[in-house]
Symmetry: C2
Subunit: 328 residues, 2 copies
């Protein structure tokens, strides 16, 4: 893996793409190579600012990323844009990381856009995305954005792998629409009401005000940073520079207050344990002798015939003693 | 366990207490008896309305429970009050379920108050509390309330085992105070601003208004029920009857729209799987041969020397193959 690692470090774009394909592969030999490659590159990771971004379809994520991407590159930085969209495997194509929606950025040599990895589970997709982020960092990218439309718990995953989480909203994103998904508002370090142009500008400002008031009721994630609520028009390019300044201010806040490194380390450790949980549950499901017991126990618990804890214990004990060969 | 089960079903209070002590025990033989008892009583559970309640210390939970308890009992119903407070084992005494704070209710034969079970982990405490709830239902209680002060993720646990979740707030619970913990506001099916009396009444109404506005921005848990924000004075008994009517209305809403049973079933199944995760991780930690590897791997991931996924895989594989005896 050494030649490939060196090519990535020297900024070779083809090597990067090859490595990403490797981490996305499900083949056992590829996984082993990917592990080797990542371990070799670890000392060269961590040098980007990691930004997560979510928003409902139609809120203007692609236009926004393109606009802010222009600003980032104008400041001499290299930008990678990744995506987490576990539904795309089923819908046959992701709406995220769609290069046709970020044409200008796609053509810029200082930008790199990658569509979501495929994957059966959100956990699997998130893992591949994060490893891709590590590769991009080793390749010298200064900013890595990870976007998601918000399927299942994908926003939480993206927030858990990034330094800063942005929530993009439409004007009037309150009464008229469905309202934002539970738990998302509180993940955001910066909220942005897009499309603040033309007839929608006043509404956008009112929406921003509503969110500002709502945030006053909540405990912020970090003492010393109340998530701002800004407006912008990605289409017209209005407010974009201010937003990048706010993002830079937050990065400074994280560094100055020695928050960034502890936050990343805690994220990584938490992520390891959640992957262990998922992996053990997956192993339990894969155990052929368990299939029937799982099905019966789940049914009994679901139908209220068996307490959940008794069911859980039965499955754990059977799985673990089965693994030992001798039933207890 | 049959005699004990029958005594519980006939409403024998001593039998109920004995059974609760059994489910709270950590001894393996007690656990087996508890499992037997619970399995026998399962057909007689589910007939209460399960209400969770949280609020910061000082917001008036005990006074509120006493006040609404009076209303419940006046309507001819039997009330059990349980608590989840995993910190009490360390602090040497729970502030919840403290009978001295709910004196009137304690003396009422139609009420049953139980302090939090002890436990090393939130998962353990929650399990015991839920099994206690099942026993109370078998004993014929019509309403079971579970309160928590909000340590760690206890609010989420309580919301996951109840039909309706109440959030109790102080007047001015916004700017002046710390703000409510992230993720809690969105768990609530009903928000109550207490202490709306005397000089605080106007402030309480304003706070209620602020929360109403904030909730407009969020997607409700169930289409058709926007969580109301009410005020009350538990001390003066003002607004308590209205609150019980609202709670009854919600119960009706859940039944009429066929939401209650599916919700409980989904809760139970989800809880079984989260207990399986916790149990498997616990087994991994208990495996003596794993201790050093866990420590080294966690350190490497935490320090950024090893990708989280590689670390996770190493631990999973070692644990599972170790269980099989033959290393792969």
């Amino acid at each position: 893996m050494e030649p490939l690692a060196n090519d990535i470090l020297s900024g070779n774009r083809r090597a990067l793409s090859k490595a990403i394909t490797l981490v996305e592969s499900t083949r056992a030999d590829h996984r082993q190579q990917a592990d080797e490659l990542l371990s070799a590159l670890m000392p060269h990771t961590g040098n980007s600012f990691r930004i997560g971004i979510t928003g409902s379809p139609g809120v203007g994520k692609s236009t926004f990323i393109e606009a802010i991407g222009e600003t980032i590159i104008a400041r001499g930085q290299k930008l990678a844009v990744l995506a987490i969209d576990p539904s795309s495997a089923r819908s046959g194509g992701s709406i995220l990381g769609d290069k046709t929606r970020m044409e200008t950025l796609t053509q810029n040599e200082h930008a790199f856009i990658r569509p979501t990895p495929a994957g059966q589970t959100l956990g699997g997709v998130a893992r591949r995305s994060f490893e891709t982020m590590l590769l991009c960092e080793a390749a010298g990218f200064d900013v890595v954005m990870v976007e998601t439309v918000g399927v299942g718990q994908s926003e939480t995953r993206v927030a858990d792998m990034t330094d800063m989480f942005l929530l993009l909203l439409s004007p009037g994103g309150g009464d008229e629409l469905q309202g934002i998904k539970r738990g998302i508002m509180e993940l955001a370090d910066l909220l942005i009401v897009n499309k603040a142009d033309g007839t929608q500008e006043t509404l956008a400002k009112k929406t921003a005000c509503d969110y500002r008031n709502a945030l006053k009721l909540l405990r912020p994630r970090h003492a010393g940073w109340t998530p701002p609520v800004a407006t912008c028009s990605a289409l017209e390019g209005a407010g974009i520079t201010d937003l990048w300044n706010t993002i830079s201010k937050y990065r400074q806040f994280l560094n100055t207050n020695d928050v960034l490194d502890p936050q990343r380390r805690a994220q990584m450790r938490a992520w390891m344990w959640s992957q262990i949980s998922e992996g053990l549950i997956e192993a339990l499901h894969k155990e052929k002798t368990m299939a029937r017991l799982i099905s019966e126990t789940e049914k009994a618990v679901y139908e209220g015939r068996l307490p959940a804890s008794t069911g859980a214990n039965t499955l754990i004990q059977t799985f673990l003693t089965g693994k030992q060969g001798d039933p207890k």
